[in-house]
Symmetry: D2
Subunit: 408 residues, 4 copies
C-alpha cells in the first residue's frame, strides 16, 4: 500500500477488514512520511484460513486502493456470460472509484465507471456494464486478481490553494448557508467560464417554493447543461407559466386558488394536445419558466416517469430502462451536479456517477441531505435549507461575481 | 344543499367559494336540524357576472355535494374526443368522491371512480378514464350540468357505535401509538373474518428496520391480499432471506458486514438467473421472507420500477404505464391500505383510490405522514413511528385478539 | 350566540361539545345572515343530566364566545383564597381570549389577560393572576356564571383590505418563503412607522446560521423593541464579536477552528470579569453584534436561564420566577413577536401572550413550527426555513420598501 | 504518543492539528504494532513560530492523550483567583476525559471531572470547578504544562468479548430498533444485578406517547436510581394518574377530552395544596405513575425549572444554579443514562457527565439524537423512534431475560 495512509484512516481500515474477515496480518514494513507532504508506504503480509476468505479480503483491499502482489499477473480472470442479463456468480462488483484491470500484462482503465456494475473485457479495453446489459459471450471479470482502484490522495496538499474546496463533510441545519452558497456560485462561474458541464436534478418543490424564476435564470445565463427530473417538476413549472399557480397555489399571493387542484391536469391536457413541451413552446403557448428556457437554450432534459405520475406529459419517459439510459448519457462528462429537493431522482443520479464529480444536495429535510451526501467522498456537500431561498441567494451571489475575463 | 351542512363546515365552504370566485349569494331558506340526528337543508340563490364564473362556481359546488337546479336536465353535456389521449378543453376533472351523472334522465353512477380522470359516457353507463386512455370517439363529459358527487354524511351518528372508528385526524409524534395499533389490529381481524381485502404498500425501510418477519407473518396468516412496492423492498427482503443482511447490515447483530454493500447485487443476479422471484422460490433458493410468503400464499404483488433501481429484478415492472394499470387492478375492491414507509408508492396509490377506503400511513417522518393522510377524509390515519416496531406491535396485538368465530 | 357562526365552524363546535359532554340541545332559532356581510344569531336550549355536566358545557361554550343566559346575574361567583399560591378547587382557568366578567351588574374587562391563570376580582376590576401569585384573601372567580370571552369575528370582511393579512394557516416546507418575508417586512415597517412594538425571541441557531449581522441591523434600524432569549444566544453572539467564531466555527470560512470549542467559555469568563454585557460594551470590549446593538439602542432584553447553561453570563437570569416576570413585562403591549429558532423560549412567550398579537415562527424543523403556530388564531404564521437566510432576505425586503413618509 | 494510534485516526489528527495551528513536525520514530493486539508508539518533534502557537498546539495534543516532554516538570503552573467566579485569562478548560496534573512531582487525578470547567489545585489534590464556583484564593491551572488526559484505548480488544458493546456510532431511522433494545435490556439487567446506577432524563413526550406505565415499571423493579426532568413530565404524569389524560388527551381512547387543556392546571393546583409531590402521594391523592413510584421506591428526582413552566409544581426547582447542583449530585457515580425525548435536559446532563458513562438517547427527531450522541465516544448510542414504543419493548425484553442468579 502506498499513499497518504493515515489520511482518512486508510491503513487502519485495511488492518481492520483483514481481521474482521477472519484473516491475520503482519506489518512487514511501514514508512511514515516524515513531513506533511510525504506519502507513506506499507508492506503487509496477509494470512487467511481459506481461499474464499483470502479472496473476500482482497476484494475489499482493492476498494481501498491496495495493490495485491497478484498484480504481476498478466491478465484478470474472466468468465463468459452464458445467459443474457445475468453475470457469472463470482463477478466483481464495481464501485464509484476509477478502476484498472490487467489485460495483456498492462493496466487498462475501465470505461463508463459506475457503481454496482460488472466489468466486461475486450481485446485491449474494459468497460462497466449493468447486469441487464450483459450479452451472451461477454467476458466478465470475476475474482479479485489483477484489479486495482485509484484513490485520489492529493487532496490534503491542495487544500487552501486557489482550487475550489467545499466545506467539510457533515450535514447540519445549524450552520451558515450563505457561505456555502458563495462557494457554489464561485464554482459555477468557474465551470461555465471553462466550458464545463453542470447538471441539475430538480423536484417539484423547486417550483412550489418559488425557485422557478431563479432556475430559469441559471439556465438562460448558461450555467446549466442538463436537467434531470420527473413529470411533476415540468407539470408545475408549466402550470405556473400558464396559470400562475403551482399545485393550485397562486405564486404571487401564496394562497390556494379555489379549484386550483385541477390546474395541473388542464396543463397536462394542453401539452398533450401539442404533442410535446418543445412543440407547445414553439406554438407560443409556453412563454417562460424552467422548461421554456431548456427548450430555448437547447439544454437537454430527461423526465423519468414514476408510479405517482398524473397524465403524464408526452415528454415523460415511462419506460425506465430507457430513462436510466438517457439519464446516464446526459450525465457523461459532468463536473458538478446540483440536486434540488428530489431524493428519488438524486439517488438514481448518484448511482450512475463516478467519484470525482462534485455534488451539491439541497433539501429542507436533514435525513435526505445526509443520505445523498454520504458517499465517503470529499466532493459532496449537503445544504439543509429551503430550496427556493437557496436559488434566490445563488442568483444574487452570481450577480456579485465579476467574470475573470472581464477583469482583463 | 342537503345533509349535515354544519359538519365539516360544508355550508360555510359553499358560501365562501361563491364569493371568492366572484359570485354573490342569497340564502333563501335554511332549515337547521333541530336535534343532533337531523339533517339540514338550504336553498341558496347564486348570482355571477358571467357564464364562466358561474360554471367555475358550480364545478366547485359539485365537489361539495351540492345539487344544482340543472339536475332536471336529462343529459350531461359531452364532447367527442378527437385526438387519442387528449380530452376536450372544458372536460370535467374527477375527484375521489363517488360521482353520478345524468344520462337519459337518470342518475348513473360513474364506474372506476378515481381522482384526476375524465368521465366517458356510454349508452346507460359512465366511467372514469385517465387522459392517456381516451380514445377517438369517446364521449367526454364537459361543463358542470347534470353532475353530482355523493358525500358520506352519516359519519356523526355512527361514531361510538360498535363500528370501527379511527382516531381523529391530525398527525403527531407526541401521542400514544399503542392505541392506534390496537385499533388497526381489531380492524384487520374484522376485515379478514369478513372476507375483505387489505393491500400493503411497503418500502425497503420495512426490511431495514426488522419488519420482514412481521410482514411475512401478516401475509401467511391471511391478513394481506395484495402487495405494492418497488424493486428495493423485494431485493432487500430476498437479501435478508439469502444472506441475513439488509443493504449489507447484519439483521441479527445490527452492524454492517464488510463487503455487504455488494450483497444486494449478488441477490439480484441470482434471481435474474432463475427468471423470476416465483421461480427462485420454486427452485428452493428463497425459503422465507415477504416475497416468499406472497408466492406461497398466492398474494399478488406488483413491483413498480423507478429511476433509482439497481438491476432490476425480473419482476420489476419498468414500464410505468403497465405498472400503474397493475397497481389499479390490484387495488380494486380494497377495504384498507397499509402504507408502510414509502412516500413514492403511497402517493401513487392514493391517486388511484376513491374515498371510503381506509388508509393507514406509517412513517418516521411527520411530513410524509401529513402529506399522505391529508385527503380531507375521516378514513385515513397517520402514525409517526418506526415501522419495524409498528409491525412488531401489530403482530402482538393480533395475537391478543380472539377470533369472534372461536368464541362461538 | 351571535356573530359569524358558520365561520370557523363555531356553531358546529358548540353543538358538538354539548353532545360530547353528555348534554342535549334544541335549536330554538337560527337566523343565518342572508348575505355575506351579515352576522348570524342562534338561540339554543341546552339540557344536561347534572349540574356538573352543565357547568362543564358552559365553561366550554364560554371559550367559544357564547353568552349564557346567566349573564343577567349581577356578579360572578368568587371564592376567597385561603392558602397563598393555591386557587379554590373550582377556579375558572383563563384562555388567550379577552375575557369579561360581571361585577356589580356590569361587564368588566379582565386585565393582564393570559392563558392558564385565575381571575381575581377587585371592587370594580378584575385581573389575571398566576397560581403562584395568588395571595390569601384574593377573591378568585369560580364556576362559569357571569363570564364571557370576546372572539374577533370581523376577520372575514377585512381580508383583502389594505390591512395586513398573513397567509392562511398551515405549515409547509413546500411553499414560497419569499412571499411571506415580503409581507412580514411590510408589517414591520408599518409597526415601526406607527410607533408600535416588536419583540424577538431568538436562539443560538440565529448566530450559527449567520443571522447575527442581520438581526443586529434590525435592532439598529429601530425595528425591534425587545429581545427575549437565553444564555446561549448572548454567549455565541459575543463569541462571534470577540473571536469571529460561533460555537467554535469560523463564521467567515464556515469551518471549525481547532480548539474553538473552548472559545465560548473564554468569552463567558471575560464578560464575568466586567460584570455584565453592558459594562463590557462600555469598556469597549464588545464592539458589534446583537447584544451590542441592544445595549447601544436601549433595547431591553432578558436572558432566561436553563439547565443546559454554561457559565452563565452575569446577565442570565437563573431565577425563573423572576425571568418569567421580566419576560411578561417586556411583552406588554407587543404588536408582533418574531420567534426565531428557539422552541423553549417561544413556548414560554406563547403562554404569556393574549390573542391578537401577531406571531411569526421560523424554524427549520416543521414540527416546531406546527407546535408554535397552532393556537387556533389567524394571527400566527409559520415559516419552515433556515433562519439565517430568512433574516438575510428580510433585511433585503426592508431595504426595498420606501417609507410612506418619504413618499410625501 | 503511545497507544492504538491508528485507531480512530489519533496519529493523523495529531499531525493535522500541528500543521493547522501553524506549527510543523518531524516524525522521529514510529513503531507500528506488528500484530493486531500491539500498541504503537511515536516520537514527534514539534516546531512552532511562537510560544502562543506552541501552547495552543500542546493544549490540543493533551486532549488527544499525548504526553508532552514537559511532564518531567514537577508542578503545573497556576494563577490565583482574584475575583470570585472569574478565572485567570489563560485558564485550562477541562474536557470530558479523565485528566491528571503534576503536583509535587506526581500525577494527581482531577476529581469531579466534567467539561467546560477550570482545575483548582490543593496541596495534593486537584478538582474541576465551574467558573461561578471559583473563590478568591483558588489556585487555578493555566497554560498546558504538566497536564495529560487519559484516553481509553483498550476498546478494540474487548469487542466481541462477553462484555456489552453498543452498536456502532451513527444515527439512522432505517435500522432495526429491536436489536438495540435487546442490548440495552441486557445491560440494564447487568447493572442492576451488580448494584450499579442508572439515571433517566425524561420529557413529557414519554407520558403523551404512553410510556408512563412502562417507566413506572422500570422504577418499581429497581432498574432506575435517579430521575431528571422538568416541571412538565411530572405534571402530565400526575395528570394521567389523577384524571386519565395527558395534556388533555384521554390515554385510554387516544382522543382529546373537551376542556382537557385545563386538566394540567387543576393538577398543579392540587399538588400545590398538598405542598409537594411526596406529600400528595402520602395523602393518598396520587396512587400510580412515574412520580408515585419515585416517591415509593425512594428514587431521588430533580425537576429543573424552565421559562415555559406553568404553575409550577412545588417540587420544580426554579433556581437553576441550585438545579444544576442537584443534577450534578444525582449523576455522581452513574453507569448509564437513558435520555428519553428531552433535548433540553439531556444536553444539560451531557455537559455534566465525564467520558465512560454509557448514554442512550431516544427521540423521534433524528437531529436531536445526532446532537446528543455526538460526543466522539463509543459509549453513546442513538435510537430514532417513538419513545412510548421503545419503553414498551424494553419492558418486554427485560421480562424475557432470566436473571443470571436464577440460573445458578
Amino acid at each position: 500500500m502506498e499513499g497518504h495512509l493515515l489520511d482518512a484512516g486508510t491503513m487502519n481500515k485495511a488492518l481492520d477488514l483483514i481481521v474482521e474477515n477472519g484473516g491475520s496480518f503482519k506489518v512487514l514494513n511501514f514508512n511514515l512520511g516524515i513531513e506533511r507532504q510525504s506519502t507513506s508506504a506499507a508492506d503487509v503480509r496477509v494470512s487467511a484460513p481459506s481461499h474464499e476468505v483470502m479472496e473476500e479480503i482482497f476484494s475489499q483491499l482493492i476498494d481501498l486502493g491496495a495493490i495485491t502482489p497478484e498484480t504481476e499477473v498478466c491478465d484478470i480472470i474472466t468468465e463468459t456470460c452464458t445467459q443474457a442479463g445475468v453475470a457469472p456468480d463470482d463477478f466483481y462488483v464495481t464501485t464509484i472509484y476509477p478502476t484498472e484491470v490487467r489485460v495483456n500484462c498492462e493496466w487498462v482503465r475501465v470505461e463508463n465507471q459506475r457503481m454496482d456494475g460488472a466489468i466486461v473485457v475486450g481485446v485491449n479495453s474494459a468497460k462497466c456494464k449493468l447486469l441487464r446489459d450483459l450479452e451472451v459471450g461477454d467476458r466478465v471479470v470475476t475474482g479479485v486478481e489483477g484489479i486495482r482502484t485509484v484513490r485520489k490522495t492529493e487532496q490534503r496538499e491542495k487544500r487552501g490553494s486557489e482550487e475550489f474546496s467545499f466545506m467539510g463533510a457533515g450535514v447540519s441545519s445549524e450552520r451558515r448557508v450563505e457561505l456555502v452558497v458563495e462557494q457554489i456560485a464561485w464554482e459555477l462561474r468557474q465551470i461555465r467560464d471553462q466550458g464545463g458541464k453542470v447538471v441539475v436534478t430538480a423536484g417539484p418543490v423547486v417550483i412550489h417554493t418559488g425557485g422557478a424564476q431563479h432556475l430559469s435564470s441559471l439556465i438562460s445565463q448558461g450555467y446549466i447543461q442538463g436537467l434531470l427530473g420527473g413529470n411533476a417538476i415540468a407539470v408545475h413549472d408549466i402550470e405556473q407559466a400558464l396559470m400562475g399557480t403551482s399545485l393550485g397555489v397562486d405564486m404571487q399571493k401564496g394562497v390556494p386558488v379555489r379549484g386550483g387542484h385541477r390546474h395541473h391536469l388542464k396543463v397536462i391536457n394542453t401539452v398533450r394536445r401539442y404533442g410535446s413541451i418543445a412543440q407547445a413552446v414553439e406554438a407560443g403557448i409556453i412563454t417562460k419558466g424552467v422548461m421554456y428556457e431548456c427548450v430555448k437554450n437547447n439544454v437537454p432534459f430527461c423526465l423519468a416517469g414514476s408510479i405517482r405520475d398524473d397524465g403524464p406529459l408526452p415528454d415523460a419517459q415511462m419506460d425506465l430502462i430507457k430513462a436510466q439510459a438517457q439519464y446516464a448519457q446526459l450525465l457523461e462528462g459532468t463536473d458538478m451536479i446540483l440536486m434540488l429537493s428530489t431524493m428519488l431522482h438524486s439517488i438514481g443520479v448518484g448511482n450512475m456517477t463516478p467519484a470525482g464529480v462534485k455534488m451539491v444536495c439541497v433539501d429542507i429535510n436533514p435525513a435526505v441531505v445526509t443520505k445523498l451526501s454520504d458517499r465517503g467522498s470529499v466532493e459532496s456537500v449537503g445544504v439543509v435549507t429551503d430550496v427556493g431561498l437557496f436559488l434566490s441567494l445563488l442568483i444574487q451571489q452570481l450577480e456579485k461575481l465579476t467574470s475573470p475575463y472581464q477583469i482583463a
